[in-house]
């Protein structure tokens, strides 16, 4: 049986998009969060922040906010599998004559697409915090966000396949999404950290995504772009493989 069923991938993808645009509350909700961080927290902490070069705090966390949007959107999108299971729609897909791998791919692409849409909306805020995006960097930026989102959707699918009910949603928020983001170097400079924090930041795959976004948005990064990209590609292949494996094995 072939693993790729274009109809199925398209259907899973299109369904998520239709639902996303139909449920405006989700769209607005996920836009308020970054705006709060950027303007409230960003402006609040700006005074106490000793800058790196000529970058102020709001500007510094801007790449992190873009990353945050992509983390939240892609994981949330993948986790909707749990909802589909509870509300029954998952059965309809699983009993159809389609390979499960295609369902995973469709879900991954949907999460990536939604995450890109949200991320791009945040990028539009750049002028408000006086971040100047160069046109040359827009396309690579989209690629990096897409790569990062695809990887994170994979994580979300693994969680969804392993979790038997969505009572655990708060748990995911507290134990997966928040730590990933806080440890990604999105909110603070990566210099002069205690050794244990430094270690945690370095093992967090998101650090390299955020760092790459920072490179493209602010023009500086802590790690080399080549390393960041290579790391992201490995990471996203790994999570996709894991997603396919766990989703195929799951009993529904």
């Amino acid at each position: 049986m072939a693993m790729i069923d274009v109809n199925c991938i398209y259907m899973v993808w299109l369904r998520d998009l239709i639902r996303y645009f139909r449920e405006k509350s989700q769209l607005y909700g996920s836009l308020t969060r970054p705006v709060l961080w950027l303007f409230i927290l960003g402006l609040g902490l700006r005074g106490g922040y000793r800058g790196i070069g000529n970058v102020n705090y709001t500007q510094f966390i801007f790449p992190g906010i873009v990353a945050m949007t992509s983390i939240f959107t892609s994981i949330q999108s993948a986790i909707s599998i749990i909802w589909d299971r509870e509300f029954g729609f998952l059965k309809e897909i699983l009993v159809a004559p389609v390979p499960r791998t295609s369902i995973v791919i469709g879900k991954g692409l949907a999460g990536t697409t939604l995450s890109l849409i949200q991320g791009c909306i945040i990028l539009l805020l750049a002028p408000l915090v006086k971040v100047r995006l160069s046109a040359v960097n827009i396309f690579p930026l989209i690629l990096v966000i897409a790569l990062m989102s695809f990887a994170l959707t994979g994580i979300g699918i693994v969680i969804a396949a392993k979790m038997t009910s969505f009572q655990g949603f708060g748990t995911i928020m507290n134990f997966v999404i928040m730590p990933l983001w806080f440890l990604s170097g999105a909110l603070y400079p990566l210099q002069g950290l205690p050794w244990w924090l430094n270690l945690l930041v370095r093992v967090n795959p998101l650090t390299y995504g955020v760092d790459m976004v920072r490179r493209l948005v602010l023009g500086f990064s802590y790690y080399s772009p080549g390393f960041n990209i290579a790391f992201l590609i490995c990471f996203s292949s790994l999570t996709t493989a894991a997603a396919v494996y766990f989703f195929n094995r799951g009993e529904y």
């Binding site: 259907m11 299109l14 239709i18 449920e23 589909d84 059965k91 699983l94 159809a96 389609v98």
Partner: protein, 329 residues
């Protein structure tokens, strides 16, 4: 009658960690037949359907559906069947038409036919004027009809229905059955259904009564009922224990009794009851005399009644979360 076998099951079993849900079932179903699985909750009906639909892997035994093996030929089986699950399986944030369109897409209904088949299915299930409404605004009966419409889009040979009318009002149930019977008649489609509604089982050509994962009787509804000749008498007395004892001793009749009622079978109820009321030492409070039903057959074979059990904890939780979920997303 020249019978073409569409479902063939041999020694099919399913164990769940030491618990045997389905225990060595063997039966076959002919094309165009309406075949019913009748039994209480937890008898193994749903597990059997899931195995035949390739959703659950059998622990042992073999089964073929539409000529394909349910273990090794998943995809061919899936293409040949339609399924109405016990719980809803629609996307309620999509419209009826979108649900149907997506189904047609994954089942690869030829592009040129999609629109026509969808319209036809909607019309047939009397949903045409609600086609572009969100499913979340549909009633339970409408959702069920939409699911049936959806399951027919790819023209399956066998339609599995797991408790198809559970929780629906009698009128809706009648309407759905009307359609299903018509379907069988026009397309020679095979229907395999599970139920614990006795009146629903009466629609079947043949019924397998299943309990604790085993088939304990398999015949036409008529033959099953004719095992119980005569009339069914149900009485309530001041002291059921005493009355049951007396009926047994005095008339040599087998009775089953609970504090709520005494049931037994006699050749002519209208003649027997007046005599009984006179001769019994305890006062009789109420009497019902009726034709035997499949309920009685089940009671006779298993010694228990099929009762709608209460909604399980899981279901209660689910409906609570569903309400919560509306606000959350």
């Amino acid at each position: 009658m020249n019978q073409e076998i569409v479902i063939k099951v041999e020694e099919l079993s399913k164990d769940f960690k030491g618990f045997t849900a389905v225990d060595g079932l063997s039966f076959s179903v002919a094309r165009g037949e309406i075949f019913g699985f009748l039994g209480p909750n937890g008898a193994g009906k749903t597990t059997t359907v899931r195995m035949l639909c390739t959703l659950t892997r059998p622990s042992s035994g073999r089964a073929q559906v539409a000529g394909w093996d349910v273990i090794t030929e998943h995809n061919q089986v899936r293409r040949s069947i339609g399924i109405i699950f016990q719980d809803p399986s629609l996307d309620d944030r999509l419209t009826a038409r979108e649900n149907l369109r997506f189904h047609a897409l994954v089942y690869k209904v030829p592009k040129s036919e999609v629109r026509e088949r969808i319209n036809q299915a909607l019309e047939w299930m009397e949903l045409t004027n609600r086609a572009d409404d969100l499913v979340r605004n549909f009633s339970g009966g409408m959702k069920r009809r939409l699911e049936i419409a959806r399951s027919l889009l790819h023209r399956p040979e066998v339609l599995f229905l797991d408790e198809p009318t559970l929780g629906l009002d009698p009128q809706t149930r009648m309407r759905i059955w009307d359609r299903l019977l018509q379907l069988r008649h026009e397309n020679r489609m095979t229907l395999f259904l599970t139920t614990h509604y006795m009146d629903e089982a009466e629609y079947c050509d043949r019924i397998a009564i299943i309990d604790h994962g085993k088939i304990i009787a398999l015949d036409t509804p008529g033959n099953l009922k004719s095992q119980l000749r005569g009339d069914r008498v149900v009485i309530l007395t001041v002291d059921n224990r005493q009355a049951a004892l007396e009926i047994k001793e005095r008339y040599g009749i087998e009775v089953s009794w609970t504090p709520e009622k005494i049931q037994f079978q006699v050749a002519d109820g209208a003649l027997f009851v007046p005599k009984l009321v006179k001769e019994l030492s305890v006062p009789v409070l109420s009497v019902v005399v009726r034709q035997p039903t499949l309920d009685d057959v089940f009671l006779k074979i298993t010694g228990r009644e099929i009762r709608d059990s209460e909604a399980s904890e899981r279901e209660k939780l689910k409906s609570r979360l569903q309400r919560m979920g509306r606000g959350w997303r």
